[in-house]
């Protein structure tokens, strides 16, 4: 039994923030859970998928976030509780539905968890998703620790049902991915039966009337939040400085106060219901201090909303000084940490504090480097994407017309760096590579002579590239789409998708054939194995030079990490030392300097290349690149 499915009220367990959110949903009696994977949110649905059969839930990986939200919403419309999870970029995809769902309202508890990625550690941006709560007039909760992650999720279902609105929960990486103690409550045993009440209507229209009703609901939410246990103040009655914070900022603030030993001088207002803000509660606390510092991840959301309340009430409050991102006391980009918060507080109340030396980060990095092997941001050894980009690089050079690659979101985004030989020239949203190619594919009429290539992974294809491909054929765009089919949503943790033959809960599923889809969309489709570099180069050149219109080349080869789980390595690869000419070869360390698979290493002592047998997966691709034919492979 998993720790999140045990019915052990009062027991304390160690949970990851995302597991705590999942547990909160279970304690609320959730029945339908849907998501598209994306860090740092993926473990929420991943965890629930593991207990789905045991607890009688429907858990699915949907093809994209909008569909996922629609799936969870259907449960709500039928009177069940639904949970949907996604990363910040995903909310952009789901927002079209969300910003109509707010008007129609919902029935059973519906909770949308969005896990933001400050500093974009595993994202293309560091967008602050909270703005969508304000945009859509939707209640928003921000957990500050693991227990709260569970409690808030549970409570969000109640709030949702009381208001008839979906409730947003905004997590961040350090809440979602860290672990802490969580005290469990009871798991409900009820088995509600879904039913769509035909007396009910879920229409966004009439827009103005529903907008008015929505504002009334939001006023009720504001009233509810005045009493919320997720908002509290800790500190002296008249602090010299009040820190107003939400989410992971709470823990950072506590640590900073301890660092500076200023608990008697500085108070912390911790807000968990950040939209709509409980106005009376906020005003009451603003009276306590004349100087307020805001600590929150990414955008000055809390900061600006509190300032709005202040502006409306400043006559009664008198002069206040606000500090935060606007005043530059807190950086307005990147991720916070206790050091930043400590420094900001110390700056504002002038307490002696030995700050970290300026070169601390550098020294920490150096100290760590001695313990950790140096690894570049790189494709894994044996990754089919490396072979693909290698072939693309060669084909574009030989083609000689300065062709370029439009990128997309996935492991293959690393194609913008040395691991992908710098081939990828654009990177935006899911499916945007193909969409941009639709546009570039029209520019030949204005004299664009460069070949246009888009890349897209299999999961991304189902997610967002299919409409672009339909558009390409319909409007007669001329480009080559490389469909990198590694049969996995690899970057986010190998979640299954419509092409993999299994579901989130491990059940067998029909496989949707990528080739057939592309052909139906009117594309000329061919399939190659990227490990056959020569054939891939030849096919690329032929498609670029001889075929007009929409072409799709499916580069089919399973993700090396997935393969490693169920099959032995293809080849035993070796650099034959007597054949490797080392520095005298004239190849200028081609295998380790240019091809750069981490499975190849330069043996400084011998002055020759070697295979790192511990990590080589035996794909054999490198055996074709050595001018001295010193890299040999044998069937393993």
């Amino acid at each position: 039994m998993s720790s999140i499915s045990q019915n052990a009220p009062g027991k304390t367990v160690l949970l990851m923030g995302n597991e705590a959110i999942a547990r909160g949903a279970l304690e609320a009696g959730v029945k339908v859970c849907a998501a598209y994977p994306g860090n740092p949110s993926s473990e929420i649905i991943g965890t629930l998928a593991k207990v789905a059969d045991e607890l009688g839930l429907h858990v699915e990986w949907s093809v994209n976030e909008k569909v996922a939200l629609e799936v969870a919403t259907a449960a709500s419309f039928a009177g069940l509780r639904g949970l949907c999870a996604m990363k910040q970029n995903g909310l952009n995809v789901a927002s079209d539905f969300l910003l109509n769902l707010n008007l129609s309202g919902c029935r059973g508890g519906l909770v949308l968890v969005v896990a933001d990625d400050p500093a974009g550690v595993s994202s293309s941006n560091e967008e602050d998703s909270r703005i969508f709560a304000k945009l859509g007039d939707l209640p928003l909760l921000e957990p500050a620790n693991f227990q709260e992650a569970k409690e808030m999720t549970k409570s969000a279902f109640e709030i949702s049902e009381q208001l008839g609105l979906p409730v947003l929960i905004r997590s961040v990486t350090r809440v979602s991915h860290a672990r802490g103690n969580v005290c469990l409550d009871e798991l409900p045993q009820s088995r509600p039966k879904p039913r769509f009440e035909n007396s009910l209507r879920f229409h966004a229209l009439p827009a103005v009337l529903n907008h008015k009703l929505l504002h009334e609901k939001l006023d009720r939410a504001k009233q509810m939040f005045e009493e919320s246990p997720f908002n509290f103040y800790r500190g002296p009655e008249k602090p010299e400085l009040m820190v107003a914070t939400s989410g992971s900022g709470w823990m950072y603030s506590l640590e900073a106060m301890i660092n500076l030993n200023v608990q008697e001088r500085v108070g912390v207002l911790k807000l968990g219901t950040t939209w709509p803000l409980p106005e009376s509660y906020v005003l009451e606390h603003l009276k306590k201090a004349d100087r307020i510092l805001f600590i929150e991840e990414v955008d000055p959301f809390l900061e600006n909303n509190v300032k709005e309340i202040y502006a409306q009430n400043c006559l009664f409050l008198g002069l206040k000084a606000f500090f935060g991102k606007a005043s530059k006391h807190i950086p307005d980009v990147g991720e916070l940490n206790p050091e930043i918060v400590t420094h900001a507080i110390q700056n504002l109340i002038q307490v002696p504090y030995e700050p970290r030396p300026a070169d601390y980060a550098l020294r920490a990095h150096e100290a760590a480097a001695e313990l950790i092997p140096a690894r570049a941001l790189s494709f894994c050894p044996g990754c089919p994407h490396r072979a693909t980009y290698w072939a693309v690089k060669i084909a574009l050079a030989l083609d000689g017309r300065d062709g370029f690659v439009l990128g997309d979101i996935g492991c293959y985004s690393l194609g913008m760096g040395p691991s992908g030989f710098g081939q990828m020239r654009t990177l935006h949203a899911m499916g945007s590579g193909t969409g941009l190619a639709c546009g570039f594919g029209q520019l030949n009429r204005f004299g664009l002579e460069q070949p246009v290539i888009a890349v897209c992974g299999d999961s991304t294809f189902y997610h967002a590239a299919m409409p672009a491909l339909a558009n390409a054929y319909y409007n007669g765009a001329d480009f080559l789409l490389l469909l990198l089919d590694n049969s996995a949503t690899a970057m986010t943790g190998f979640q299954p998708h419509p092409g993999t033959g299994s579901t989130a809960t491990g059940k067998e599923a029909p496989v949707i054939d990528l080739k057939a889809i592309c052909e139906v969309f009117g594309a000329h489709v061919e399939v190659v194995d990227p490990f056959d570099v020569a054939a891939t180069v030849e096919t690329l050149l032929r498609l670029l030079q001889e075929e007009k219109g929409v072409k799709v080349l499916i580069l089919k080869r399973e993700c090396a990490l997935v393969s490693a789980k169920h099959q032995k390595r293809l080849y035993q690869v070796e650099v034959e030392q007597e054949h490797c000419l080392g520095e005298t070869c004239g190849c200028n360390r081609f295998c380790t300097r240019i091809f750069k698979c981490p499975g190849l290493m330069w043996d400084k002592a011998a002055g020759k290349a070697r295979i790192d047998e511990a990590i080589c997966t035996g794909c054999g691709v490198c055996t074709r690149i050595c001018p001295a034919s010193a890299i040999r492979k044998e069937k393993a």
Binding site: I394, A397, D399, G400, L541, G586, N588
Partner: protein
């Protein structure tokens, strides 16, 4: 210039001075030596950056820092001084006697017949030639028998990386080698021989170089795109340019003969041909070309003892027959050869300064070349 930095004589410089400056002759001397360069449809393409300070790619190239005196001394034992058409031991007209050669050959079939003879006599055990097949794409091939020699007869007027085959092999290790190449390829071979860099190719076993007269060669890709607009997509059997003043490119595709004015194909001449000093493939044992006004005959220039010996034996064995080259033809040939040199110097002057060109030549010789062609230095 004293910059303190080492002058690059590797791929970096080759890229800047030759590949990116459209000065590549596509001779193939730099290929299959390292993984950074590859040829595709008659073009040499740099795939990756290499930062080595010197490389064989640069050292062998016929368009990089060629010290003509040094190269000629290495090949002939004397400096670059016979400015008309290089060292000449003998000059004559010749043709192959066996119709097997004359039927398919461009003119007199002397080149094919001599290579075949050299193979049969054991003078060489392998040849590096350029097959002439339907898609016209020139590529080097190692040949060891008559059938293979025959497949290489005829010209396509398109240059290609023949010398890559020498670098690539595979070689058994003992064969003596004969190579048929254009003037730029003969120059590259001579540079390979004289280079002090460690050799990775069997250049020291190249005993015979038969050079082909050449005034220019075409760039494969644009020329083919043009050609297939003019002729059917059927396999092209033969290309021939009729002698002046007509100058028509005759293309035999399937059973149809198309006639294209040479002026229409001039845009596809490789820019690197404009700066070429050498029409008669001077750095060869034997140079072979056409004879104006004498269809079915080759002009043959014997330049080395090796060449003279081979020709003598071939004649004695009845493989070829020879006749004296008429005086008018000889003077026209010299004139044309010098004209090519003068045009090359003019082209270099247009591009900047002759002294900054790809070869070093004394001011006196430059003056000489320009004046003997009726021109003087400004």
């Amino acid at each position: 210039m004293e910059t303190g930095e080492k002058v690059n004589r590797g791929l970096k410089a080759l890229g800047e001075k030759v590949l990116n400056s459209d000065q590549c002759t596509a001779c193939g001397a730099c290929l299959s030596l390292c993984p950074y360069l590859r040829s595709w449809k008659g073009r040499v393409v740099k795939l990756d950056n290499c930062n080595l300070e010197e490389g064989r790619c640069f050292a062998y190239c016929p368009r990089t820092e060629v010290d003509l005196d040094e190269v000629y001394r290495g090949f002939f034992g004397k400096s670059y001084e016979e400015i008309e058409m290089g060292p000449v031991r003998k000059i004559m007209m010749a043709r192959a006697k066996d119709p097997i050669w004359t039927k398919k050959a461009q003119t007199g079939g002397v080149v094919s017949a001599l290579i075949d003879f050299a193979l049969r006599e054991g003078v060489i055990q392998a040849g590096v030639l350029t097959p002439r097949d339907g898609d016209l794409l020139p590529q080097g091939k190692i040949i060891t028998n008559r059938k293979a020699v025959l497949s290489c007869a005829g010209s396509s007027y398109v240059s290609g990386p023949t010398l890559e085959a020498l670098n690539r092999g595979p070689w058994k290790g003992q064969e003596r080698i004969g190579i048929v190449g254009l003037p730029c390829q003969a120059l590259a071979l001579a540079r390979m021989k004289t280079s002090t860099l460690e050799k990775k190719t069997p250049i020291d076993r190249v005993d015979l170089v038969i050079g082909l007269f050449c005034t220019w060669a075409l760039d494969y890709k644009p020329f083919m795109a043009f050609l297939y607009k003019r002729v059917s997509s059927l396999s092209i059997k033969k290309l021939n340019i009729t002698p002046p003043p007509e100058r028509i490119l005759e293309v035999m595709a399937g059973k149809t003969l198309s006639r294209i004015p040479v002026d229409d194909i001039r845009p596809f001449i490789r820019p690197s041909c404009r700066v070429c000093l050498d029409m008669t493939a001077e750095l060869s044992d034997i140079s072979v070309g056409t004879v104006e006004g004498k269809e079915g005959w080759n002009t043959v220039i014997v330049r080395t003892a090796m060449g003279e010996n081979l020709l003598k034996r071939a004649k004695k064995a009845g493989v070829i027959e020879t006749r004296p080259l008429p005086k008018d033809n000889l003077s026209h040939l010299k004139e044309a050869s010098l004209l090519k040199k003068r045009r090359a110097l003019d082209a270099l002057k247009e591009m900047g300064e002759i002294e900054k060109g790809y070869f070093t030549l004394s001011a006196n010789l430059i003056k000489c070349i320009l004046s003997e062609s009726g021109e003087t230095l400004p």
